[in-house]
């Protein structure tokens, strides 16, 4: 009985959040709308990592490649199959999800660093495949155009606000689905897999299949965020998914808190805001070219290190601890 009530409360909370974001988007300028769209996209990508690592205990360094798979699938669906952009985004999630399922199944026997190495190799090699097949557009890449906002939204409705709506809506729906899933039997099975795989096997859970499913799910979410990302830059190309993106998402997941989805939005904000803040500081301080160029990376890296040292459960975990302080 209480589970249904919680599920209803959850849905209501998500809808409320959606409304708040809607109203918010009307009140701010284009730049903030654009940044907000990136926040939603990164938050979704971070959620995919949290699912895989925090909930099912697998480490992947290759999520940039999974995002790329989704992005290309979406672009091809829109351009070649001439389908609606929404279908394109759904295709992005599905294709990436199937890819992740297959990959996860093949990689199910791999433990920690071996899985990490395989996903690393995936991350560096998959984007280069785009150059092998002309249909993928080579280094130039493919166009990813979700079109202008519908005219009935008014003339004042900017492209950036449209991006904001699409990415926030996608992220909200996906994360809501994910949260429901994690509160179901599947979520418990994932956690069992993470905490004690031997006991899980004894309890009758098919660990290989579960691992693959977690990977597939995570890949699907990453694929959707990849589609959203290339929507924001109006096109997909191999260089949009460098290895450093995988590491950036991992860093975001650690800062957010790898155990729970509560803070993904903060993780997204940090990934967007920190480089900008760092750049402003670098310009304000002046100094040699080497200094100005390197300062943003220095700050991002230092922030991650400080997080790992002082709040290893991330910001989300920290606040969770504060709330449950009664123990």
């Amino acid at each position: 009985m209480s589970k249904v009530v919680t599920a209803k409360k959850r849905l209501f909370a998500f809808i409320l959040l959606g409304w708040v974001l809607l109203i918010f988007s009307d009140r701010v300028g284009e730049l903030t709308q654009y940044r907000g769209a990136f926040v939603a996209t990164y938050a979704l990508a971070i959620a995919s990592i949290i699912l895989l690592t925090g909930y099912s205990g697998q480490l992947s360094l290759g999520h940039s490649a999974l995002m790329a798979v989704g992005a290309y699938a979406g672009a091809l669906t829109i351009n070649n199959l001439k389908l609606h952009p929404v279908v394109g985004l759904i295709a992005a999630a599905l294709v990436a999800g199937v890819f992740g399922l297959v990959f996860g199944y093949a990689a199910a026997r791999l433990s920690g660093p071996y899985l990490a190495g395989t996903t690393l190799a995936l991350a560096v090699s998959l984007p280069t495949i785009a150059n092998q097949f002309p249909i993928l557009g080579g280094e130039q890449g493919l166009l990813f155009d979700v079109g202008a906002p519908p005219t009935r939204l008014g003339e004042e409705f900017s492209q950036y606000q449209w991006f904001f709506w699409i990415s926030c809506l996608s992220a909200l729906i996906m994360i809501w689905l994910l949260v429901n899933l994690l509160n179901s039997r599947y979520g418990r099975e994932f956690r069992a897999l993470r905490d004690n795989p031997i006991a899980a096997q004894l309890a009758g859970i098919n660990t290989g299949l579960q691992k693959a499913m977690a990977f597939g799910l995570s890949a699907g979410i990453a694929g959707l965020s990849g589609g959203l990302l290339v929507m924001l830059i109006s096109g997909v190309s191999p260089s949009a998914f460098p290895l450093s993106l995988s590491f950036l998402l991992l860093a975001g997941a650690v800062i957010t808190g790898v155990y729970g989805l509560g803070g993904v939005m903060i993780g997204g904000v940090i990934l967007v805001a920190i480089p900008e803040i760092a750049e402003s500081i670098a310009i304000a301080l002046g100094g040699s070219e080497g200094f100005t160029i390197s300062l943003p990376d220095f700050m991002v890296g230092s922030l991650v290190i400080l997080t790992v040292l002082f709040t290893p459960y991330g910001i989300g975990g920290q606040l969770h601890k504060l709330k449950h302080h009664k123990h």
Binding site: G54, A121, S125, N131, A251
Partner: protein, 298 residues
């Protein structure tokens, strides 16, 4: 025939270079159970230090010695100031697996930035200590130089020396024990923390050796060992992270795969080849070619 011989020779020299990096990654893994992505950054940093010494003294060998010593010190420093803290605070659950990786990656970025602060971002070069011209065999010049030979010999000696160290000495035993079973080691009287720091120091030194032998064949700039890090890690995984011999073997396998596929198929396939080889190996042996049977749950 010429194409085949060249492919073999270039595979050997490529493999030797990947082995430099994979050895130092396996060293860190064997002594601390951490994948140290910052290894490349430490290597580059100490290579810059070596560069400064070479520019002032004119001697590559002096620069090499200083770089290796600096590598050892910096490696030990990172463990004492940094890794110990991380292990203390993030020791259970999935965070234990992800925190060190993320931390070393962040450290990678921080060290790169520091290099940018101090030396700037322009490309520099280091001249090799021995000739880089191809050896002349039976009148024709082949794709293998005295410098390539030096790298190959260094890799072989390192592998032998380090394997002896790990397998046949008490220190080696202490290193392995501290990594696998720290609690029991402490009970046996091993100073686990100090031993681990030693492991980081040795790995740091090995990384510096890698950098100083790699850069003369390439260019020196903050991000110059990024590709080498990726290939070195893949090579280590192929060979099995628990074996130094595996590190070298894996690097050779990777070198042969990449050079042969490039020469006989296409130069575009460099990265996909690495991936395919890795997947093939891991499908058959999930813990690498030279893994010790059942894999350990890390």
């Amino acid at each position: 025939m010429n194409q085949f011989i060249t492919a073999v020779l270039t595979s050997l020299s490529s493999g030797a270079i990947y082995a430099l990096m994979s050895i130092s990654l396996v060293l860190v893994w064997r002594s601390t159970r951490v994948i140290n992505f910052a290894q490349a950054a430490q290597a580059v940093l100490t290579t810059y230090i070596g560069y400064e010494v070479i520019t002032r003294s004119g001697s590559f060998w002096l620069g090499l010695i200083v770089a290796v010593i600096a590598g050892g010190i910096i490696g030990a420093g990172i463990d004492i100031l940094f890794m110990r803290e991380i292990f203390k605070r993030a020791s259970t659950g999935p965070i234990a697996m992800i925190a060190p990786v993320v931390a070393t990656t962040a450290l990678l970025g921080v060290i790169y930035s520091l290099i940018g602060f101090i030396w700037g971002i322009s490309y520099k070069t280091i001249e090799a200590p021995v000739s880089t011209n191809g050896l002349s065999i039976f009148g024709s010049v082949v794709a293998f130089s005295p410098f390539n030979l030096l790298v190959l010999i260094t890799v072989t000696i390192s592998m032998v020396v380090l394997t002896i160290l790990f397998q046949k000495t008490n220190i080696g035993l202490a290193l392995r024990a501290s990594a696998h079973a720290p609690e029991i080691s402490k009970l046996s009287g091993i100073k686990v923390d100090a031993v681990r720091t030693l492991g980081w120091a040795i790995a740091g030194g090995a990384g510096s050796l890698a950098g100083m032998l790699y850069i003369p064949g390439s260019y020196l700039y903050p991000n110059s060992m990024a590709v080498l890090l990726v290939f070195g890690f893949i090579a280590a995984v192929i060979g099995g992270l628990d074996s130094l011999f595996g590190a070298v073997a894996g690097a050779m396998v990777l070198g042969f795969a990449i050079n042969f596929s490039a020469s006989y198929v296409s130069y575009k396939l460099v990265f996909p080849t690495a991936f395919v080889i890795l997947i093939l190996v891991l499908l058959i042996k999930p813990n690498g070619i030279f893994s010790s049977g059942k894999g350990r749950r890390d």
